[in-house]
Structures are given as C-alpha cells and as structure tokens.
C-alpha cells in the first residue's frame, strides 16, 4: 500500500529537536521507494539513530510532514500506529532483546504480537534461528549470548514477519566480517522479496559489499544524496546513471 507516486516513505521539510535544544535533524526532504536497499551513513553523532527513530515511528518530528505507506503518520491517531509498526522490522543498535525470554521466544515475539497461533510459530522461528546460525542456542537467554549472537537474534526478530520495510541501526557492528557478510546477504535476500531496507552504518567497507549501493549521507543533521538515492527512479535501478 504505497502512495500514488510509488513512495514508501516521504519526508517533507522535517526537523527534529529534543526539548528546547537545537535541531538534531534539519530540513529533511526525501522519499524512499519500495523494494530499494539504502545505506544511511554519517559520522557518529550525525543524527543517524534519530532519523531511524523517525522512520520506525518511535519519535514524532518537531516540524514537517512524514508519510509512510501513503498515510500521514504525524497526524495519524495513536491507536493506528501499531498496524503500521507491524509493517516495519527494526534492528536496534542496542538489540533490545527481552532479557527473560529465550532466543526462540524473542524471535517469536513479532508473530505472537500479530496473533499467530503457536503451531504456526515454531517452524518459521526455528528456520530463522537456523539461518542466523543460532539453532543450537534457541533456548539460551540473551545474557548468556555473546554480543554477536544477540545481534543475530535481534536481526532474526526484525525479519521474521517479512516486513515491508526493514530499518537496521548498525546491524553488523558486533559480528565478525564473515557473519557481517552473511547478514548483509540476508538483508539482500529480503530486499529481493520486495522489502525496502534501510541500513545505518559507519562501516564504509560494508557499502562495498553491495553492488551499486544507494547511499544517504547525514552530516550534522543534514542529508546529502551522493548516489542519487533519494531521486526517483534512483541511479542504477532503472533510472539515469
């Protein structure tokens, strides 16, 4: 359910400030298109996490307009937000796993929240844990998992429901290069199935692992568009090169 222009996300003159401080994000105007793979880069403190928080509806902007899936999410009634959030997958920088649940139950959480019966949960969750290499750690609680393992559980939880858009904040920050590449391939596979992927990273080597990446660069709260990622159609995806 995208709008007539084919945008999955549209930011128009969006600004964000916390309290009375100065703006963390300024004059954000861009569109994200369905089925694309975006990298969000920028130095530490550039505002990547703040922009992602706007994208996964954890924050309302101080000004401007945001449309997602063709709907204005700023003026949207609060009760309508859950339905939109179920169309998003989020990988948090700090994983945000539920500490007293096992890896299996953490990954199963989106399916349970969506109301799936238990008999329809076990197989996809097991398959997903197997895919991220944690089949033998299904019963382990987050505290007993390494940082990399926790990150993989967080990624499995974000993608298990096959969201329309996946938002990942430094998803490969705590894993070895081999696992980072494997996770990237998972994101690409998901992207090929139609999921829009937005990956925030400061690891420029990661960008080189993806063919013709679309890059959004944040610099002190302002967005630049070095690869034409924010134009439509984006460069290298059937658009002008």
């Amino acid at each position: 359910m995208n709008d007539a222009g084919g945008n999955i996300v549209q930011f128009d003159n969006v600004g964000l400030r916390y309290g009375t401080g100065k703006e963390i994000l300024s004059d954000m105007s861009f569109t994200l298109h369905p089925g694309r793979f975006y990298f969000l880069t920028g130095a530490s403190g550039a505002g990547k996490t703040s922009l992602l928080r706007l994208l996964y509806l954890a924050q309302r902007p101080s000004r401007g307009m945001i449309r997602m899936f063709g709907t204005d999410v700023i003026t949207m009634p609060r009760d309508d937000l859950p339905a939109f959030r179920r169309r998003l997958g989020v990988v948090f920088q700090d994983f945000r796993l539920v500490p007293h649940l096992s890896a299996f139950d953490n990954v199963a959480l989106p399916l349970r929240v969506a109301g799936l019966p238990e008999q329809e949960i076990a197989k996809p969750v097991s398959d997903m844990l197997d895919w991220v290499g944690l089949a033998d750690r299904a019963a382990a609680r987050p505290a007993t998992l390494s940082g990399g393992e926790q990150q993989r559980v967080a990624i499995a939880r974000a993608v298990i429901g096959r969201p329309d858009m996946l938002v990942a904040d430094e998803p490969t920050g705590n894993v070895d290069p081999e696992m980072a590449l494997k996770l990237l391939r998972l994101f690409e596979a998901l992207n090929r199935l139609g999921t829009t992927v937005v990956v925030a990273t400061h690891d420029l080597h990661l960008l080189q692992k993806v063919t013709d990446p679309l890059i959004m660069r944040l610099d002190r709260g302002r967005l630049s568009d070095p690869t034409g990622a924010l134009r439509y159609p984006p460069r290298g995806k059937g658009g002008p090169s």
């Binding site: 996964y56 859950p82 939109f84 539920v98 929240v113 109301g115 238990e118 429901g161």
Partner: protein, 311 residues
C-alpha cells in the same frame, strides 16, 4: 502457510491477542508477586467482617423494630398499693376490651422487682419502702404511633387516672440510632478498604509497568497495542486477586463464625435478632468477586493511562 501470510490472516481476523501463557511470560513482573496477594487477602477479610457487621446490625435493628413496633407500656404511677392495683386491673380490662389491642398482660410484681433489683436492692414480700409502678405490657395490631396513643389516652385516664402510656419503640429509638451510626461506620470502613485496595493495586501496577518499561517499548515497536499489553497486566492482576480474595474470604468467614458463636453465647434477646440470613451469606461471598473486578479494572485503567503517555 508462510509466517507473512499467517500475519496477514491474523490481521484480517481483527485485533490479535498475545497468547495467554506467552503474554504472562513476556512481562514477568506484571504479576502482583510478593506481598500483593496477601494485601488483597487482608483487605477482603476486613471488608467481609465489616460487611457482616453491617448486615448483622441491620438485622438487629429490623428485628427490634418489628418486635416492638406495636408494643406499648402502661405504667400506673400511684403510691398507694391498693389504689395502684385497682387502677391496674381497670386499665387491663379497658385495654382488653379496646378494638385494635391484640393482647395485654400485667407484668408480675416479682418481675418488676427483679428488674429493679440491681438499682434498688432486694425488696421483701409486701415491702413498699420505694413504691414501684404497676406495668402493663400490651401490643397493638399495627404501629404504635403517637396518634393512636393520643386516641387511647383519654379513655384510659378515665378508668385509671394514674396511668401513663408510652410506645415501646420510643424507648428503643436511641438504640436504633446508635445501631444506624455503627452501620454507617461499617459502610465507611468498607469504602475505605475498597479505596485502599484500589490504591494498592494502582501502585503495584505502576511499579510493574516501570520494571517492564523496556519490554513494553519493544512490544510497542513490534506493533503491540495498548490493549494487548493492558490485557497481560489485568489477567495477572485478576489471578492474584482471585487467590487473595479466596484466602481473604476464608479468613473473614472463620472470624465471622467465631464471633457469631461468641455473641450467641451471650443469650441476649436483642442480639438474637442479629443472625445472618442466607441472603447475607450470599452477599458476603460476592465480596471477593467485587474485589477481583475492582482490582482488574484498576490495573487496566492504570496501565492504559500510563501507556497513552508513550508513543
């Protein structure tokens, strides 16, 4: 069916519900663990005892009123024993012959002496050092109102000039008033206990919310609704309230049965009317049910109002 298709199907079915068992696992401290069920048990026990007291007092007042509603007392206040006896007999004949008087009887002098013995000491046969009035106990076939007494009084005075007539209910009015005050006190206690229980549940729910705030945020980010989260809390609270309610009711009933036996041993005519009826016992059994509903609704509204402050 793939997970994605299953989610779509679940969304079409309507508002999904987090699986019961899993929901409680999700928020480990949503359950009012620790002292909270005991607090509810104590509140329910005290409420049950207070309610039983209020119901018993109501029964005492009603029984006394019913017993004395038509009762009248005629006193013949005459110093001369012979004249007093003559007027007493005349008054008795008059009352028995009067329509609307169901029965009338002279209270034996021995009984009057016995009643007064604690204050005047024992009086011997024929001892009239302190003359006591002759008493006639009578019942009207309805309420002994002041109007009916006023109608009786002139004819009675005509045959017994030293007679004084009073409604027995009027003697009891201060007692009934005191009983009513005790009933209001019991009701106030019940309301205070309900308020205290509500406050305790509110505090516990707020604490559980605070402890589980991170998890709740995660569930929100995954598309969980306020109603889903509130349901997890209210189900847990209801379960603890049921446990506390059953324990509290049992403790309260044991106390009531013990007190009932103690009062029954007093063998007081007035207290005998204070026994609990079947309907009273049923009302007492409903107290934990009301407590569970109150605790569940308190938890629900506390959680929902706190969640509304989150995005």
């Amino acid at each position: 069916m793939s997970a994605f298709a299953a989610i779509a199907a679940a969304a079409r079915r309507g508002l999904p519900v987090v699986n019961r068992m899993r929901g409680e696992q999700l928020l480990t401290q949503a359950r009012l663990a620790g002292p909270m069920p005991w607090v509810i048990a104590i509140m329910i026990a005290l409420t049950t005892i207070a309610a039983a007291g209020a119901l018993a007092l109501n029964n005492v007042a009603n029984a006394a009123r019913a017993e004395l509603a038509g009762g009248i007392t005629v006193q013949i206040v005459e110093a001369s024993p012979a004249e007093r006896d003559r007027q007493a007999r005349a008054a008795l004949r008059f009352l028995k012959a009067t329509p609307g008087v169901e029965n009338a009887a002279l209270v034996p002098k021995e009984q009057v002496d016995r009643l007064m013995e604690p204050w005047l000491g024992a009086q011997g046969e024929g001892d009239e050092a302190i003359p006591l009035p002759a008493l006639i106990d009578a019942s009207l076939d309805g309420q002994a109102t002041q109007d009916r007494l006023a109608q009786l009084r002139p004819d009675l005075l005509a045959v017994a000039p030293a007679a004084r007539i009073d409604a027995q209910a009027s003697w009891l009015r201060p007692v009934v008033s005191a009983i009513r005050s005790l009933q209001y006190l019991a009701l106030a206690l019940i309301l205070l206990l309900a308020a205290a229980s509500t406050a305790a549940v509110w505090l516990a729910a707020r604490t559980a919310l605070g402890v589980n705030r991170d998890t709740i945020e995660i569930v929100h980010h995954l598309g969980g609704t306020d109603a889903q989260i509130a349901r997890i809390f209210q189900r847990s609270v209801a379960r603890d309230a049921v446990l506390g309610g059953i324990a509290g009711l049992a403790a309260g009933l044991i106390a009531i049965v013990g007190l009932t036996r103690q009062f029954a041993a007093l063998d007081s005519g007035m207290l005998a009317g204070g026994g609990l009826t079947v309907m009273d016992w049923l009302l007492l059994v409903f107290i934990p049910l009301v407590g569970v509903i109150l605790a569940t609704l308190t938890a629900r509204f506390t959680v929902l109002s706190a969640l509304r402050r989150m995005l």
